[in-house]
């Protein structure tokens, strides 16, 4: 990945907000990503960083969690890499249905389902040496003509006729009689 930004955070809960802030600040500079999508990305990053920090805690690791953000033409890609013990994403326990009273016994395990719903693509690469979660958020194609129109969105209207008249008048005044 050609990283635009690489951030290393200590594996401590107080740093998750910083990771969210950095990624959402980068994402919000793209005019082809709506505010709603940036909010979705913030939640996904928070979930992945929380999982990474918990993985380090379980493994008694003092390593940093690494966050990489790459801006590509059609998407933003975020990698979140930890040095925990890894897990098998296909064998995670399923929650009972929300209508089942036993559902209230499950306070955890919502992070990955949220990530999978909120971003466009998720790849989880996990082994005994750690986990790398790669999330992609596709960006809307922007019509370059529309972008040019926006760039020329002045706060005032230019009265070309008046300008031309003034120009002609000045031109006439400046001409030697």
């Amino acid at each position: 990945m050609d990283s635009a930004i690489e951030l290393e955070i200590p594996a401590r809960p107080e740093y998750v907000a910083l990771a969210r802030l950095v990624v959402s600040s980068l994402a919000s500079t793209r005019r082809d990503l709506t505010d709603d999508r940036v909010d979705d990305l913030k939640v996904a990053v928070s979930e992945a960083c929380t999982n990474a920090i918990e993985a380090h805690h379980s493994a008694d690791s003092n390593d940093s969690v690494v966050i990489r953000c790459a801006e590509l033409d059609d998407r933003i890609e975020i990698e979140i890499e930890d040095r925990g013990r890894g897990f098998d994403p296909d064998t995670l326990p399923q929650h009972p249905p929300v209508t089942d009273p036993d559902r209230l016994n499950f306070e955890r395990g919502l992070g990955l389902p949220l990530i999978r719903t909120l971003v466009d693509d998720v790849l989880i690469d996990s082994s005994g040496n750690g986990t790398k979660v790669t999330m992609s958020m596709r960006c809307l194609a922007v019509d370059p003509r529309a972008a040019r129109d926006d760039d020329l969105d002045f706060d005032f209207e230019l009265d070309l006729d008046a300008v031309m008249e003034g120009s002609d008048r000045r031109g006439a005044e400046e001409l030697p009689s």
Binding site: E14, R20, D39, D40, T50, I53, V98, R103, G111, T117
Partner: protein, 111 residues
Amino acid sequence: MELDLDVTEQNGVAVLAVKGEVDVYTAPRLREKLVELVTQGKHRIVVNLEGVEFLDSTGLGVLVGGLKRVRSHNGDLSLVCTQHRILKVFEITGLTKVFSIHDTVDAAVAE
């Protein structure tokens, strides 16, 4: 990161107003406050999320734990939330079917 928790009482119901961001760092404080309320015998609780700027699954888990706790005392915990970005995480996880979610504190207290 700030998380403000303010408890008032309305018609015998404890109203907990939450302001700020709820994540893995701040959620333990929310959990402690809910446990404290239940320990004080407050078994009808309304959590007002209108001042919440961010909430992830850690916050959801704490609210689920709070609901379980009050229900074990035949009580209830309902929510006040009209913000689309916060409601979205409840909708995705199906928790809109678990919690009563209201537009105003008055409506939640009157339930």
